[in-house]
Symmetry: C2
DNA sequence: ACTGAAAGACATTGACC
DNA sequence: GGTCAATGTCTTTCAGT
């Protein structure tokens, strides 16, 4: 994982459809060498998958909210229960007064309310505190170029 | 945007490297027809871009935190100021007591502290409340199949 | 809008440095 | 780990339905 690998990751985040020739040129490598490096990045799991960024509005998901989930018991084994709700796009165990933080996308606020109801139904959940997003400034991939990791 | 388009989006989210032949077969279309539909989805902006999902740990970003940013003034025009900090991967204007919610990835907690310092330096910011993530259950794309939109 | 086929570009592999 | 050149596959386009 040197600076060339990081540059490749940044390039692919920006546009994963570009050819290996273009990719190589961007980082000063031949197409074959770029291909081999990207293959290894996939192999190691540094690249988890190639995907498309879908506009939530285009699939009818206009409402975004973050929900702090409070609990009376250990929530560390409840991943499946949250994953079972398709409107939940992220779930994290957090430090602090709440136990779990989830990110929810729905079409309407009524649907959000329904998701909250279903979260309440999860074993151990004692309360929720929803924060509705009014406007998203930006959502972007993590920049590999600013990092100092191995 | 019919059920075939949504199936195509779901397929591409899962794996954007598959051929149009495979894509077409998955939704019951020829390669050419699948290609044309995906082209239009890109044209309309339903597909914003094709990208790679990078493992944060692989680029040395082990710390994830959400920060509630309180302010004394209107923050609606401060998008650039938050975007200037590369460790901030999301920024949203929210309803509630805080004004802005940001998602931050850093290598260490020391680096997180430095980001908080730089957030404080933004005009209008009167306080921050950081919530550190202990474990991420999952982060996944929005499922186009569960939506009822146009 | 979709099908099927043709042409050209690209991914992928291997021989060599 | 890299370059360069080959082979095979896929993208992309277009005439026809």
């Amino acid at each position: 994982m040197d600076h060339i690998d990081r540059a490749l990751l940044a390039q692919l985040q920006q546009d994963a459809t570009q050819s290996y020739a273009a990719l190589g040129q961007a980082v000063g490598l031949s197409a074959g060498a770029a291909h081999e490096r990207v293959r290894k990045l996939r192999e190691r799991g540094a690249i988890r998958r190639t995907t498309v960024d879908v506009d939530p509005a285009a699939v009818g998901s206009a409402v975004l909210a973050y929900v702090m989930v409070e609990s009376t018991s250990w929530m560390g084994d409840s991943a499946q229960e949250f994953a079972a709700l398709p409107e939940i796009v992220e779930a994290h165990v957090i430090a602090g007064s709440a136990s779990v933080l989830v990110k929810v996308r729905t079409r309407t606020t009524e649907q959000l309310q329904d998701v909250l109801r279903r979260i309440y139904a999860i074993k151990g959940v004692s309360g929720t505190q929803a924060t509705v997003v009014l406007e998203t400034f930006f959502e972007r991939p993590l920049s590999p170029l600013t990092e100092t990791g191995t």
